[in-house]
Symmetry: C3
Subunit: 357 residues, 3 copies
């Protein structure tokens, strides 16, 4: 006779809760006409900065991500025979598993390096030589390193594509791509050249110190028509809030930029609230804005959505998880498909998944 | 001209030595009629405790394990497209490779986490958020953690199945399942409702301190008809030998329970001798009962078999390896097939391997 | 509008530069007649020492490697269903990725152990028990350990093949196989029983301290007809330069052996220059011969080629990378195919790739 209390503890549901909202990619799929020619650009570029792709190429990428998300099991042989070198010299499980899951789902193989000290770098080997080694062993590289320059040094020698998965404080382009992908799934009409109702986004974080925010602001500038204003909520002086050019990149595109420490005032006006508290700096992480807390008691617009790159701490209260504002889980889920789309194009397998090649 | 001494050193045999006894699963396969409906229960449960399944479900699991063991190469595509998240936060190679081998043999993909410090947990991320991440990245989780509560905290949020591969001092259910599977392969008649010759099992170990023993005693209670007596050989006071309820769970089922420090007397009367000396406690391991040594000089019943979850130290002498008492290698080998059976059912792929679905 | 400077940084070429010389394996493929019977020997041997195979078997291995290198994508299912246990107890990324890439390219699965402290060895488990565990979980083992005896202890119990990927200061046989494979691709006529123009090889390294050199000298002795002389350039006394028998193994075969500290004089006369500066000793590495530097300013024979097992430091200047002397990248690339050939034979899959079985 099995203990009924135990049954309660061990039983689980597979069905996703409703908090994913209408995160289904169908509407975005319909909103973008497939045009694979733009994806050709992705066959000879490393993915280093959120700045490097134009909005047409990005929309095709989002469409391909939406296609993957709408048909999770269909393309399971797309990357067959391809080897990913997953190099995470800075600790990470979330981003590493996101990339590795994306690659596995499409049938590829993976070699992981999670300990920088096991590499020849410990013996004084140059990153150029490490790159030449990768040329012989794999088809694609994903790299995270607290050293900002590593990815650039390797890009010089690599003849296979590399994705920057976070280089020091600099950038984390695929995270930002996933963020914008999520926003467009939520409101596909924002992809128009002149959207009727551009949105106000409130970012609780430090643009100068968080690579996720740095990359995100660049993409906001590229899709400037979709955004009316960007409000940074930070407890710091404005001159430390932004790195050089960060603010100008937005204002040049006609986006209104505010910096304030008024948390409550800002979040209640925002259509999208993006929150992040942790910046990983070198060997350790630092928390910013620890007095800001989003919870189900926070006054928000009726239809506002919340994004967070995760991992989260106390700044994003679990009381919001079961509300319709929760799009941060959909964001994490969509990131896998966004990475699938990007990886497929980089290793020249897009022809296996596009309708028109 | 190649050095003949070198030839001696480098040549090897592939044939398994006879010490595996008649560990072939054929007899167990014949003894249990397939009834896949019981395995349906395994499609929405986490595997946390040896207590949670009834004997009918367990027998079907053993039958499926025996089917796999009798046909090692046949079902190599059963888990195609499925991703296992192999999270071993407490050091282990044996159990990790056992699960990973099981999953690979059935055609699945694996993502490994072997360093707790690389996870968001190091940044203060909740286990609930880690579980939500796993929901998006994989299809099944195996977790070992010296923190006893981790698996339970994750079970709350997981929408994919998790197997407890060892949580602190608490349980290690699949090890115990492998132990009982081995006993039933040895004597299939013991699965009967009322076996003619129930056995005496002697356990050299600490039920209160060893999760392998804790889980094993629970399964002995479930298959109580097969066991006449359980003798614990320990060099401790009885009140420290058992955790609360451990002894009662057996005596309630009519099994005679003894505690003694008389090693020689106990082992010479036992049909099955189960021995373990190491308990992994937090960061380090502790040895118990180091004065107990089983060797080919130990007086044993003619047909007695020895089980050990391995790794072993001096308590189980290698002089026994080539004797017919050695069923501990068969136990390790069978554990892979037992895990294959369990994993297949958990990710709802049983229909690919059962005769009647 | 995308920043053109950024475009320069992120664009890359896939085409291999010319420095690979005529490293295409075609000529070697034509020079050796396929005779798979010799490869039968590789179905029941561990690969421990460069000494253990005769030249006929080695030539067939090289031919199979050349076949793989000439047709990289063709045999991608050869190792399907096979599991490699990749155990690197001594830090390495290069050799580990080389083996893992080789195995993945042929469709096999991999389980990695990169941290010795997670194994039962930390609990005092014997290597014999670890080997027995491997027998149950995988089909082939690759092992690197700073402990010289580990591989031998495991070989006793293993019933699946193991490749020594570096045991302390002792040997690294597959590296040497890759070195000779590279030399024969460069000059296929050297495989003849009596080559017209045997070569002079100059080794800048320490035969007594570098396992790569130790293994290489053994293979040079096996293919002694191809070599006129071996010159060791070292800044040490001759009695420390060689281990016992190392020099004799060469001179017995009629090869002239010199030891000198005259770097410039030696390299300008050599047909092949093999250079290595780092020996990994236990927990740390030691540099030898740090005053020797090969650069594009070094006087070399017109057609001389340079080999280096990599990782390299300042001893091999990057100014040589774009010259036709650079065969060290081809060496690294070819090593993957050499390992593919060896692994295929060890796990008895050669019949899938040979023309005549």
């Amino acid at each position: 006779m099995v203990d009924p209390n135990l049954q309660d503890i061990v039983n689980f549901e597979r069905k996703k809760p409703d908090v994913y909202g209408n995160a289904h990619p169908k509407n975005l799929l319909r909103a973008i006409v497939e045009d694979g020619e733009y994806l050709e650009k992705l066959t000879n570029q490393h993915i280093y900065s959120a700045d490097q792709l134009d909005c047409h190429t990005l929309l095709q990428l989002f469409r391909l991500a939406a296609k993957y998300e709408a048909n999770p099991g269909r393309f399971s042989a797309s990357l067959q025979g391809q080897i990913l070198i997953s190099a995470f010299y800075e600790p990470s499980t979330r981003t590493r598993l996101s990339f590795e899951s994306a690659w596995h789902r499409l049938g590829g193989d993976i070699m992981s390096i999670t300990d920088r000290s096991t590499t020849g770098i410990a013996k004084g080997e140059s990153l150029s030589d490490v790159a030449e080694m990768f040329n012989n062993y794999g088809d694609c590289v994903v790299l995270r390193d607290s050293n900002e320059e590593s990815v650039k040094e390797m890009m010089d020698t690599l003849r296979i594509p590399i994705i920057n998965a976070g280089n020091g404080l600099d950038e984390h382009p695929t995270q930002a791509l996933a963020d914008i992908y999520t926003i467009f799934k939520w409101r596909p009409e924002l992809i128009a050249a002149q959207p009727e109702n551009p949105i106000d986004i409130c970012i609780i974080g430090m643009p100068s110190k968080m690579r996720t925010v740095r990359s995100l602001l660049k993409l906001i500038a590229i899709f400037s028509s979709a955004f009316k204003s960007v409000t940074i909520v930070a407890n710091e002086q404005e001159n430390t809030v932004f790195s050089p050019e960060q603010k100008e990149q937005l204002t040049e595109q006609g986006i209104k930029v505010n910096v304030t420490s008024s948390f409550a005032d800002s979040v209640k006006r925002a259509d999208v609230i993006y929150i992040n508290a942790i910046a990983w700096e070198g060997d350790t992480f630092k928390e910013y804005g620890s007095k800001y807390v989003l919870s189900d008691q926070t006054e928000l617009k009726q239809d506002a959505i919340i994004l967070h790159p995760l991992a989260r701490g106390e700044e994003l209260c679990t009381s919001l998880d079961k509300t319709h504002h929760n799009w941060y889980f959909a964001q994490a889920r969509g990131a896998v498909f966004l990475r699938q789309a990007l990886l497929t194009c980089l290793v020249r397998r897009a022809e296996r998944v596009l309708d028109i090649v």
